[in-house]
Symmetry: C2
Subunit: 158 residues, 2 copies
DNA sequence: ATGTATGCAAAGCGTTTGCATCATG
DNA sequence: CATGATGCAAACGCTTTGCATACAT
């Protein structure tokens, strides 16, 4: 995602309007590595703009996704998360606390052998690693929680 | 997923009951490679059991997922799809028609370099390839649709 | 001044749940 | 016969939309 000011220019050049609400949303997203949900963006914006509507947040996020400025992530949580980091990278999600960190693509070229493409034109791939983050691992050992084996689908206890 | 009869035995041995509804659902899923949504399973079961409730389908699918008999897939469509094929494999989804085919894991061991694990205990990974299937490619060339470039996020025209 | 964005509330969609009834084991 | 499953409808969480008002350009 571009910097807020450049984004504003882009919006204007497309005939879209730059409202205070949108500027606030841009600023919350800029450099945000927490992969926030729409609701979390809403909460963050409300701090400095208490009267903003959740619908406005949703509409603006959709606009940004359509413009290719942010990515919408579906990590099987029943809601979308948003990532201003749009270059190719993958995600590592903790099945207990739902925290998400970026992982570089590295050399995992992640190509599909021609015989496995089934005639498709391949556009890209999404990779999500599932695991347990250091913090949750600690709590697990303390709480003697069931071993995180059959999980990842339905996370462990609390 | 096991065969229907073996699944019935498993259910009974766990104190779960084998009802006609469940048996029908098992049979629709058995060997089903279409990655159906709950609604699609519902439609298929209704053919031979018109009075079944959608809630029953949902409840049974959830049970099967919890037992590890089927996988729940989240392909960013806003609804879950179900796969009776539970051994490690990935998916290739057509961004236009939403069709999904399995792709073998192959040698794509898909491991995360230790320095990229950020201290997590890795449990697994989901890989989804996005592309355009042969059928849609054909239609695209006929309809002179916009090149499928900026898509995969919001699919092309109709 | 024009057209787009906003806030609000309602609707939409997929999914879950509460409850009375039914049927499996 | 006891427990768990069913169907129905209501509730749920996330997201979109309709509409009248407000504001950026």
């Amino acid at each position: 995602m571009q910097r807020t000011e450049q984004l504003c220019d882009k919006f204007r050049s497309l005939g879209l309007k730059v409202t205070p609400q949108r500027r606030h949303i841009f600023q919350v997203l800029e450099g945000n590595g927490s992969h926030p949900s729409a609701d979390e963006v809403y909460d963050r914006v409300k701090v400095s703009m208490p009267d903003i509507s959740l619908a406005t947040v949703y509409n603006t996020l959709r606009e940004l996704v359509n413009l290719g400025e942010i990515r919408s992530l579906d990590l099987g949580e029943g809601r979308s998360r948003y990532d201003p980091h749009t270059d190719g990278h993958h995600h590592l999600s903790c099945v207990r606390c739902r925290g998400v960190v970026d992982v570089a693509c590295g050399t995992h070229a992640l190509e599909l052998a021609p015989e496995q493409q089934h005639g498709h034109r391949i556009l890209g791939a999404d990779v999500t690693f599932y695991g347990v983050c250091p913090t949750c691992l600690e709590q697990e050992s303390v709480n003697q929680t069931a071993p995180s084996l059959r999980m990842w689908g339905v996370p462990a206890s609390d």
